[in-house]
């Protein structure tokens, strides 16, 4: 853990450059460039709003905001995970030619997507205005769930990146895991919609306290934002740190042989 922080700090400039490269390559070739980072979530919001509030008739007040408050963080999670999982294999030829701590690649993948995610907060704020939804002061609390989300994502990403070096099927399996995980997470619904008898099971999901914190701060009770309880934060932080510790331990255990298998 200490080592992870040290490498991340020592190589911060490299990690930043790699993340920047990722973003440049992603947007460089399109005419609209970086605008897509803003446009994409707006269009997604439009489609989902149409489907869920006009066609499906969900009985939740201000459903678009309800949904987007957790959907954007989830998108960050799933995209980072996809990029991080492939990062070692994608940079394989590089790892055979230059000595760099391999951990910089998954870290850069998460960072690139974090920049993307922070940018989506702009269209989200825009949507609040469009939908005439109140801006809660609890937005100021968002750095806490964002930090938990980043740590958790990094941990899971490190584990999947390691596994993917040895078994390339992991990238495919990840898609299935992510879609199942999506439906088991409180994104399109709230935990209150689950039968009380099964709620405990949904609460085991380490993404639950993190997503819930986002929703409380942004959506809350519509008229006012809410702060997550101390318990919820503790749970979210514990899950995030545990994932990071385990993911990094696994990564460290095998990183010396990455150059032999990529």
């Amino acid at each position: 853990m200490w080592e992870l922080c040290r490498v991340a700090y020592e190589r911060r400039e490299l990690i930043w450059l790699l993340a920047l490269k990722e973003l440049k390559v992603r947007y460089n070739r399109s005419a609209l460039g970086f605008l897509w980072a803003l446009l994409n979530p707006l269009l997604m919001a439009l489609v989902l709003t149409l489907v869920f509030s006009s066609l499906l008739r969900v009985n939740i007040e201000r459903y678009p905001i309800f949904l987007l408050s957790t959907l954007f963080p989830w998108t960050f999670f799933s995209q980072s995970l996809n990029y991080a999982t492939q990062s070692i294999v994608t940079n394989g030829s590089l790892l055979k030619k230059v000595y760099v701590p391999p951990v910089v690649f998954p870290l850069a993948a998460v960072l690139a997507n974090l920049v993307n995610f922070l940018l989506t907060l702009v269209p989200l704020a825009l949507l609040l205005v469009v939908f005439d939804f109140p801006f809660h002061g609890t937005w100021l609390f968002l750095p806490v769930p964002i930090l938990m989300l980043v740590l958790f994502t990094t941990g899971v990403g490190l584990a999947f990146a390691t596994a993917n070096v040895f078994l390339r099927d992991v990238g495919q399996v990840l898609q299935i895991i992510l879609s199942v995980w999506f439906y088991f997470s409180p994104i399109i619904y709230d935990l209150g919609a689950i039968h009380p008898r099964f709620q405990w099971f949904f609460e085991l999901n380490p993404m639950h306290p993190i997503l819930r914190s986002f929703r409380l701060a942004i959506y809350g009770e519509v008229t006012r934002g809410l702060l997550p309880s101390g318990n919820l934060i503790l749970l979210g932080a514990a899950g995030a740190l545990l994932a990071l510790l385990a993911g990094h331990a696994l990564f460290r255990r095998y990183q010396d042989s990455f150059a032999l298998y990529v």
Binding site: E13, L14, L17, K24, L95, K96, V100, F166, R168
Partner: protein
């Protein structure tokens, strides 16, 4: 064995073993075989079979040998890309972590962006790299192409840029793998000149090449490798001769 006092790099009984699980793993069991340190049914190849040598401070050591004799594996061990399976590799001082020129180049980025990224990959701060940018492009003779995406460069231009970066970052120990195989005659001469300058500055170089004509000009000492072993060690000209001799068929056909 030469005295170890001023050795920059020491190899002692180094074995590098590669394990191959043939094809792709069909069963989960094989995955665990891959992940675990041992396992049956795994073919192993020793790329290095217990070799020992020193690279002394300030010398240029050439490695020659056939394909697969272990030359690049040695460079990768010095660069810490591989860890030895057995034996010890000791390296004093900063190594250019560069094994092949142009590692880490991205075709979509401009040449100058690539210079900064390459530098960062080798542990040089972007600030320092930007300071040296002019020198890099001057040496590569590519100043007017600095803001052109790399994908529009010819392979010769890329090689020039890569060599310029590698030699501009001032490592204690410079590792060069087949770098002179690219670029035209004029640029090759420029590279050799720069390598000569490094030698005059008493930098340490480890140099792999198949261009045997260059070896006597550039190297102080040469190791001949064959099948993961050092078969000879000595003065460049004599070693090249010996290597060429070994390439001849064992039983020469009757002279015509």
């Amino acid at each position: 064995m030469p005295s170890a006092d001023n050795a920059k790099v020491q190899f002692r009984e180094v074995v590098q073993r590669f394990r191959h699980v043939r094809g792709r793993p069909h069963m989960l069991r094989e995955v665990f075989v891959r992940m675990s340190a041992r396992g049956e049914g795994v073919r192993t190849i020793d790329a290095l079979k217990g070799i020992s040598f020193d690279v002394r401070a300030g010398e240029t050591l050439g490695l020659i040998g056939r394909n697969g004799s272990g030359k690049s594996t040695i460079l990768r061990l010095i660069a810490r890309i591989y860890r030895p399976t057995a034996g010890t590799v000791t390296v004093h001082g900063g190594v250019s972590p560069l094994i092949e020129l142009g590692a880490g180049f991205h075709p979509e980025l401009t040449a100058s962006e690539n210079v900064v990224l390459s530098g960062a990959l080798m542990g040089v701060a972007p600030r320092v790299m930007r300071e040296r940018m002019e020198a890099v492009f001057a040496f590569a003779e590519l100043a007017e192409y600095a803001e052109v995406p790399l994908k529009q460069f010819s392979s010769g231009m890329q090689a020039r840029l890569a060599f310029a970066i590698a030699t501009e970052i001032d490592p204690d120990i410079l590792l060069l793998d087949e770098v002179l195989a690219v670029g035209d005659e004029a640029f090759q001469r420029k590279c050799v000149e720069r390598i000569q300058r490094f030698r005059r500055e008493r930098r340490t170089l480890v140099f792999v090449t198949h261009d045997l004509r260059l070896v006597p000009d550039v190297c102080d000492r040469v190791l001949v490798l064959d099948d993961g072993r050092v078969v000879a060690e000595g003065a460049p000209a004599a070693m090249v001769e010996r290597y060429l001799e070994s390439l001849k068929p064992a039983a020469p056909a009757a002279a015509s």
